[in-house]
């Protein structure tokens, strides 16, 4: 009796007892840190190796500094011009995101129309294919002539370049519905809309999200190409400016920002995927593109 009563008292009073309370939390934090580390050390190592290689090449002055800047120069440019660069990054981000969202919406709508109507499929598919095979860079000048130097032609280019993977993956996803589920739905007396909302669309999400991941990186390309052809702001504009002035440090800084933009947007879509389809097989054993 006295043993039972004193035991909990002694454990909570002793310093060891306090440790016992914290240990699970700490262990979990350590576990998470280990997971993050195991997911990032390989790409991290590659980046460090690239950086070291770059540094060696510039330190040995293999190329003149106006062609290949030192990492230090690029870093200095990023720090000194950060305000200007942030402004232009924001412009490109805005064009990319608006283009991507429009591409996602238009692409999904096209996919739905194609899957549900054979007539529309015959009418739309050649058109969509044509929009895909036409070189985007070739129509950029026309878009600038039509819509001027503002964000509009860039957004349109981003949409044109990004929506094809959305359509293709959307169609594949919607077509992958188990025919027995559709039979089942029919015996439940479900409307087409309910069948779409509860069976077809959620089932299409894994395919669709793969397409969206491709689309978001392409949207960046669309926006930048648009900026190349005619713009007075954005990362593509800065790139042209820097190359015109032979400012290689700014050029490299700009390139780094463009890549970073693509990577961040890709990670955002992947986070959405983790939220939307935690049940899917592709998410059960880690994510091939971000973990080892």
């Amino acid at each position: 009796m006295s043993d039972l009563a004193s035991h909990p008292g002694t454990t909570t009073a002793s310093p060891d007892g306090d440790h016992d309370d914290e240990r699970p939390d700490r262990r979990r934090a350590a576990e998470r840190a280990r997971q993050v580390l195991s997911a990032t050390w390989r790409p991290g190592l590659i980046l460090v190796l690239l950086w070291v290689g770059w540094w060696i090449v510039t330190a040995a002055e293999v190329f003149p500094a106006y062609l290949v800047p030192t990492p230090g120069d690029v870093w200095a440019t990023l720090i000194e011009d950060w305000e200007m660069l942030a402004e232009h990054t924001w412009v490109t981000t805005y064009e990319t995101v608006v283009g991507f969202v429009l591409a996602a919406v238009i692409g999904m709508l096209a996919a739905v129309l194609i899957v549900y109507s054979p007539t529309l499929e015959k009418a739309l598919y050649p058109l969509i294919l044509f929009a895909q095979v036409i070189p985007k860079i070739a129509i950029a000048p026309i878009l600038v002539v039509w819509f001027g130097f503002g964000p509009m032609p860039k957004v349109i280019l981003a949409v044109l370049i990004a929506f094809f993977p959305v359509v293709v993956s959307g169609v594949a996803g919607l077509r992958s519905t188990d025919p027995e589920l559709l039979d089942l739905s029919a015996t439940m007396g479900a409307s087409r809309w309910k069948t779409f909302r509860k069976i077809r669309f959620p089932g299409a999400l894994p395919h669709l999200l793969s397409g969206l991941k491709v689309a978001v990186t392409l949207a960046v390309v669309g926006a930048v190409v648009g900026e190349f052809v005619g713009a007075d702001e954005g990362l593509g504009y800065v790139l042209l400016l820097a190359s015109g002035n032979l400012n290689s440090a700014l050029l490299f800084a700009d390139l780094i920002l463009m890549s970073a933009l693509g990577v961040v947007l890709f990670i955002l879509v992947e986070a959405a995927e983790a939220l939307l389809i935690p049940w899917h097989a592709s998410r059960r054993q880690g994510v091939p593109l971000t973990t080892s």
Binding site: L184, T187, G189
Partner: protein, 274 residues
Amino acid sequence: MSDTMTTSASGQPAAAATETTIDIRNLSCTFSSKRKRTTALSDVSLRVRAGEFVSIVGPSGCGKSTLLKIVAGLMPPSDGEVHLLGTAVTEPQREIGFAFQRAALLEWRGVRANILLQAEMRGMDKRRAAERADHLIELTGLTGFETALPHELSGGMQQRVALCRALLHEPPVLLMDEPFGALDALTREHMNVEMHRIWRETGTTVVLVTHSIAEAVYLGQRVVVMTPRPGRIDRVYDVDLPAQRDYGATMSSPAFETLAREIRTLLGASGHHG
């Protein structure tokens, strides 16, 4: 109650006395592709009484599944007609529960949510549906797995979820297309015992299509034997086993064995049964 059973070539002597739930009249079904025409069903007639359990056995390709789909209104017959609960079947029927060979569950929904899909699609009263789902989960021994996702369940459990979903709206007719075909022998036996109990408790009219003679005889009050291409009804057997069935005892009873052997011989004679 004796352990004997009567077999008859065509007969359903009590059919006139009780209500007919499914009335299949001279049904034929032909599929035509570019190369050839295949007759899946040829002049099939069958009456299923209310509350009856009918098993259909036959070799692969005898049109058993096609027959069920036509009864459910999921595909039109080439000839003949089906009346379900007194009305002609011309479109997908809502008065039925359908269970497939594969569980066909929604991967992203837990057990309970998968069962409740039936209620959502039909716009059933939410509270009543939830109570009914809980009851079925208990009945089929899925308690404790309510939120488990399909990929976390065994094949037998997935089939039980599909069965619960098919029974949620208390359908007067349950159509089952080899629902236990993909299960291992032991799980299949368990499911047969459970299916028998559920049928006795619910009083639903059941048509079960199966490859297994043992399953057909154990569960059915009548066993319909079909011939392969074109699918025809060869014979209909009345099964007379005690209503309260112990699986092992039933399987080894002389009555069961005699009937099972007879059906096996018939299937062997009518064609290649693998």
